[in-house]
Each structure stands twice: as C-alpha cells, then as structure tokens.
C-alpha cells in the first residue's frame, strides 16, 4: 500500500514536473514570439513614420506647384472664377419635354404603319440604283 502510494507520488511528481517544464517552455516560446512581433510592429511603425514623412516631402506645396506649372495648363484662381449658390438658376418645374414635342408635331396619335408599301419595296434607294 505504502509502496503503491510512493509510486503514485513519484509518478505524480514526474508528471507535474514534465507539465511544468512544458508550460514553461511554451511560455518562453510565446514570450519570444511576442517580443518578435513587438519588434516587427515597431519596425512597421517606424517605416510608416518614414513613409509619412516621405509622402509629405513629395506633397509639399513647393514641389506640387513646380510640377503643376510644368505639366498642367491651369491658371491662378481669380475672384471672378468663384461662383455662389444664389447665382445658380432656379430649377424649372418638371415637364414631359418629349411628350410635349410629340404633341406639337401632331405625333401624339397612334399611327397606322403602311405595311403593304414596305413589303412591296423593301430596298434602299442606293441598292436599287446599282442594279
């Protein structure tokens, strides 16, 4: 009984030691990964900062203006180019423009298609001439 207890205790000890070590190594591994990722994040942040600075450097008004002067056909804004909302014309009341035009041309009525004439002479004038 005692021996069995001893064996159980030793086995439990070994198992728990193995478990603790495995947990510890896992932790170390994870901590290393965290450190690596943190490093990577920092590197990314640094390169973002560099890119931001570069973006601003390339977009500085001085350079953009020099490029615009050589490549674009723009003029400096004058006071007269600025419009206002109240200068816009009032919106017209909505009307059916096409329908009105048809009405004035007298085309509002349904028309009867000259079916027979079409069937008799379904040729374009040019093709008839060439014959």
């Amino acid at each position: 009984m005692i021996r069995f207890l001893h064996i159980v205790a030793i086995a439990a000890l070994v198992v728990s030691a193995v478990y603790v070590y495995s947990v510890k190594y896992d932790t170390i591994l994870l901590a290393e990964r965290v450190a690596k990722l943190k490093n990577q994040v920092q590197r990314e942040k640094d390169s973002i900062a560099v890119l931001k600075a570069e973006w601003q450097r390339l977009n500085r008004p001085e350079r953009v203006q020099a490029l615009a002067d050589t490549h674009l056909d723009l003029q400096p804004l004058s006071v007269l180019n600025i419009g206002r909302f109240d200068e816009l014309p009032q919106r017209q009341p909505k009307t059916d423009e096409i329908g009105r035009k048809l009405e004035t041309l007298g085309l509002g009525m349904p028309t009867s298609t000259p079916r027979e004439a079409l069937a008799a002479d379904a040729r374009t004038p040019s093709s008839s001439r060439s014959r």
Binding site: A53, R60, P61, L77, I82
Partner: protein, 593 residues
C-alpha cells in the same frame, strides 16, 4: 560544542523494542520526525544559536558578494549608455489642417565601447575608410579613452550602416535614434525653429515644446516612442504659408530688396495663419539659421514702422474723445518744433479732417492729432496697446522695442507718424488687429485657439465706435488713398501704407527705405490682417522709380490677398455691403457722401 542530538537519543530508546517489522520501522520513522521538530527548553537555546550562526554566515557571504559586485567595474556584456545620450522622441508638429510640418524618423548611430576594442589603430583605420568624413585623429583619441561609451557617428545612412556592420569590429555597435525631419523644407522655418542632433528644440516652436515639459519627460526617460506623444497643432495653414512665402520671394527678387517678410493674422482669434521672413533657412540643415540676416524680421527685428503707425495715432485721438471723425487740423504749413520742421511727403497745404489726414498720410496732421492728446496720454495709449514692452508669444525669439528714454513733445510728434520708436512688426500687427476687430487686444498665438478662448484673455483697448472709425478710414484709404493697389475686387479690403527712412550712420537716409503695408479684409467685418514689409526695395521703371510702400509692399499684399483669400475661406462679394459703417454715415464723416 553540540548537545546530544535527537538521533542519539532516539537510538537509546530503540534498543528497548528492537523490531524489524515494517510496522515497527514506520513507527520509528514517525517518532524520529516527531523528535526532530520537538522543542525542548533545555536544548533549544543552543540549537537556535547554532542555526543562527549558520544563517549569519550565509548572509555575510551574500552581503560580501553584493558589495564586491557593486564595487567591481562592470565585466558583463551589458553596456551602460548614459541616460539622455540617445535622441529622444518629439511629438509631431502639424498645421491647422493636420498636414505634417515636423516629424521623427528612426535612424541608426554607430557607437564604440573603447574598453572592448582590442586593436584601436585598426578600428580607427577601418572606420575612417567607411566613413570618410570622420576625423581620424579625433576618433583615435576618442577610442583610446577608458570610457565605456563614445559616439562614433550619429545618424548614418542605411548604406553606411551596412558597411560598418560588415567591418565586424568588436566593441562597435549601433543604436536606433530619432531624427527630426521637416518635410516642407524652408516653409514655415521661422515658426518651427529646429532641433539639434540630440533632438532637443533649439529655436521656435520646437524650443517652446521643450519648455512645456518635454525636456523633463525626456530626462525621466518617458519619450522613447513618438507614438505616445500627442501631435502639436499649430495655427498655421501650410498652403497659405507656401503662397505667402512664394509671393514674398517673388516680390523680394522683383524689387531687389534686401529682405522681405509677411504675416497673415486672424483678427478675431489672434491666430497667426502664416508667417514668412526671407531670407530664411532649411530647418533640416540649419547651418545658416543663426546668421544675422536670417532672423525672423516680424518677431525679432525692431523697426521704425513709418506711416502704418498713424493708424494707432488716429485711434488714440478718436478714442480720447478730444477729437472726433469730423475734427480738422491745420496742415497748411510745416510744423515747427524747436529747430525741427515736420514736412508732408504728399503736401496738401490745406486744413484736413481726420479721414483726409489718414488717406493723404499727412505727418503734420497726425502730429497735431497726437499733440491734442498730449505726451502722457500718448505714452499711456501706446503702453495699453503693448507697443512699449516686449511682446511674448510661443516663439522664444522676441525683441524689446526701442523707446526713447526721455519722451518729450518732439518725441510724441515723431512717434505719431512712426519715427523715433522701433517696434517688432508682430507687435504692431497685434495692435492694428485690435483697432479693427472691435477693440480687443490679444497676443498673437501660433497654436490653435477658438474665438471664445481668445476673447477670454483679450483686453478691451478702444471703444467699438473707434474701431469702426478705423475700419472706415482704412477702407477709404484703399478706395481713394495710397492703398488702392491692394484693393482686390470682392474682398472689401482696407489698408495703410508705411514708408520709413532707415537710419544709416545716425541720419535718415533718403534712398534706403523700410516699407510696410497693413491690410484688413473685409473692412466692414474684419477677419484677416495682412502685413507685408520690404527692407530696402528699389524703384523700378514700372513703379516710375518710386520705392515707397504703395508700389512694392502694397502691390505684393494685393497679390497675397488675391491668392490666399480662397484658401482662407473668404467669400468674395460683388455688391458693396449694405451700410458697412452706420455710425460714420450718421456722423456725416468726410467721404461718406
């Protein structure tokens, strides 16, 4: 000596019932355990003493080891970098729209630990071969010291870093550092200032940030990472700043002036929207930033402002109550005081009302206005407007105005038209902003500020009616006086020219001029104040040889207004405002009919 141990005692008992059965053995073990932990009064004192002695020995060993570790020089691989050596992070500086004006990037610096370098001559030779701009002798001396840490070179390029890395010298390593960059180059250089290689602010807003507590933070080691620091937002607008600088640079070249400067101020909040002073410098490479001709002429230079000062005199006279808008002054003959005679540049030789004095820029009339108020009143008014004391803004650079030590009647006469007192243009701009914004004097700021906040710290210096009168005469000057070149259609501009002769060798020089122009837009409800100045502009054929303010500073201000007003969000109006100056019309001021 030891007392009889429990084990010996136990063995005596054991002899009585010597049994070798497992049960007996277990009981014996139990008894032994019980005896070990049993405290007996006759034995415990010596036992405690014994244990105490052992512990004393243990602690003594640990203590000695600690002391020896503390005294002994560092042997381990850990390097000791003096704190504060590495360039700390600084917060970004952004403009009012969030555009980056200054930011940090990471660079690498190479350092050496002289104690660990085996062959110092070889190390010097290799390092100077890769970094040719290093001084070999200086480096050799640095490496032969017994110090634990020396910088070899700061801020390497990635290529240099790779080359040094390839050398593989033991005791030479790299450290990441923060380097300050100003992506916009010289634009806004005078406001931003610059930082040194240790990323400490040396001038401008950079120094202001340090003085606001960043330095203490860095000293405590809290500023490793720029991401933790909140960006500092300025009141500047990068686009407006660029436009202003470019117009000034063009004008400076065109009029062959020695220097030019300009500023745009929001009169209701006191925010500086743009400030440029030419010649300027590149804060990325500030080698010539400290040359005397690169000063910020708006804040550090003090000048006799000439006729732009007349606006202050007119405001003083009108606000004192002794003069009203319809008062008239005799400008028929020159004003004599002692052995001095005051002339008019554009002589009219008649009796003038206050608006006429202003638009003809009559020295005689202005001097008489100031005399009507008196010397003490004049002094008190200028002090109230902050013209006699150093103006302090966020910029650490400032200048004390040059005020006459003994201020007599003659001084009042000349100061009335802007001679005999030298002030910083920033100061005058702040005062003129107060004259047109309804009478609130506020210190200009380079940081963002709301109108409410500005009003809270503002002091009322003149009555609102006086402010209206000033707006009225400035507008009149733009339509009928000397400021017509800046009167851009649609923005209802008002303005005042100022031409001062520079003092060369103790005398006023006729052909070395300092010209200024101050404009407000729109004059009926001012939002922005523009100030432009040229140092020694030259007359040109198209200016008919004139080098006075209207021809150069006035014209440039017109261009600046036309170009920046859309950026500033100023709406053009093509019909004149209804009743812009109701009080002036009611009083029947000159020019309203």
């Amino acid at each position: 000596m030891l007392d009889p141990t429990p084990v010996q005692h136990l063995s005596l008992e054991e002899s009585d019932d010597a049994s070798s059965t497992p049960d007996g053995r277990f009981r014996r073990l139990l008894r032994l355990l019980r005896d070990v932990f049993r405290m007996r009064s006759d034995q415990s004192s010596s036992r405690v003493l014994f244990v105490g002695a052992i512990f004393l020995m243990l602690f003594a060993t640990i203590g000695t080891r600690l002391v020896s570790l503390g005294i002994a020089p560092e042997q381990s691989g850990e390097r000791s970098i003096p704190s504060g050596t590495i360039a700390a992070a600084r917060p970004d500086i952004v403009d009012r729209n969030g555009e980056v004006l200054a930011t940090d990037i990471k660079t690498y610096s190479v350092f050496a630990e002289p104690r660990k370098i085996i062959d110092k001559d070889e190390a010097t030779e290799l390092l100077t071969a890769v970094l040719p701009d290093l001084n070999a002798r200086e480096l050799r001396e640095k490496l032969s010291t017994r110090r634990g840490f020396v910088w070899v070179k700061r801020e390497l390029t990635p290529r240099q870093r790779a080359e040094v890395h390839r050398l593989g010298i033991p005791g030479v390593g790299f450290l990441p550092e923060n380097k300050r960059v100003y992506p916009n180059g010289p634009v806004a250089a005078h406001v931003l200032g610059f930082a040194n290689v240790d990323n400490e602010g040396i001038a401008g807003i950079e120094k202001y940030i340090d003085n606001q507590g960043l330095k203490d933070l860095a000293g405590a080691g809290f500023t490793g990472n720029a991401a933790d620091l909140k960006p500092v937002q300025l009141s500047l607008d990068l686009r407006v700043e660029h436009a202003l600088r470019e117009e000034l640079a063009g004008g400076m070249e065109h009029f062959r002036a020695k220097a030019a400067a300009g500023m745009i101020l929001d009169v209701n909040t006191g925010e500086v929207l743009a400030l440029a002073s030419l010649p300027d410098f590149d804060p990325n490479n500030p080698i010539d930033a400290l040359r005397p001709d690169r000063i910020n002429r708006l804040a550090v230079g003090v000048y006799e402002m000439g006729s732009t000062f007349k606006a202050l005199t007119a405001a003083m006279a009108l606000d004192s109550g002794k003069v009203n808008i319809n008062s008239s002054f005799d400008a028929r003959s020159n004003l004599k005081h002692g052995r001095f005679t005051i002339h008019d540049y554009h002589g009219t030789h008649r009796i003038l009302t206050v608006p006429e004095i202003f638009i003809h820029s009559s020295n005689i009339g202005t001097a008489r206005m100031a005399l009507a108020v008196g010397v003490d009143g004049h002094k008190a008014f200028l002090r109230k407007l902050g013209q006699l004391d150093r103006m302090r803004t966020e910029l650490p650079e400032s200048a004390e105005p040059l005020v006459p030590a003994r201020w007599g009647e003659l001084n009042t006469i000349t100061i009335a038209f802007g001679h005999g007192i030298a002030v910083a243009p920033l100061q005058v701009a702040a005062a003129e902003a107060a004259l047109v914004n309804g009478g609130y004097l506020m210190t200009p700021t380079f940081l963002r500020r709301s109108e409410r906040e500005a009003r809270r710290n503002a002091t009322r210096v003149i009555k609102p009616e006086t402010s209206e009168a000033l707006r009225y005469i400035m507008r009149l000057n733009a339509t009928r006086g000397s400021a017509t070149k800046s009167a851009i259609l649609g923005y209802f501009v008002g303005g005042k020219t100022g031409t001062a002769e520079k003092v060369i060798g103790g005398r006023y020089s006729k052909n070395r001029l300092f010209t200024t122009f101050i404009a407000v837009a729109p004059a009926d409800k001012p939002q922005f104040l523009f100030i432009t100045l040229y140092d020694e502009p030259q007359g040109l054929p198209e200016t008919h040889g004139y080098a006075t303010a209207a021809w150069n500073a006035g014209a440039t201000t017109g261009k600046i207004i036309e170009r920046t007003a859309p950026l500033l969000g100023l709406q053009p109006r093509f019909e004149p405002p209804q009743q812009p100056f109701p009080t002036m019309v009611k009083l029947g001021a000159w020019g309203t009919k």
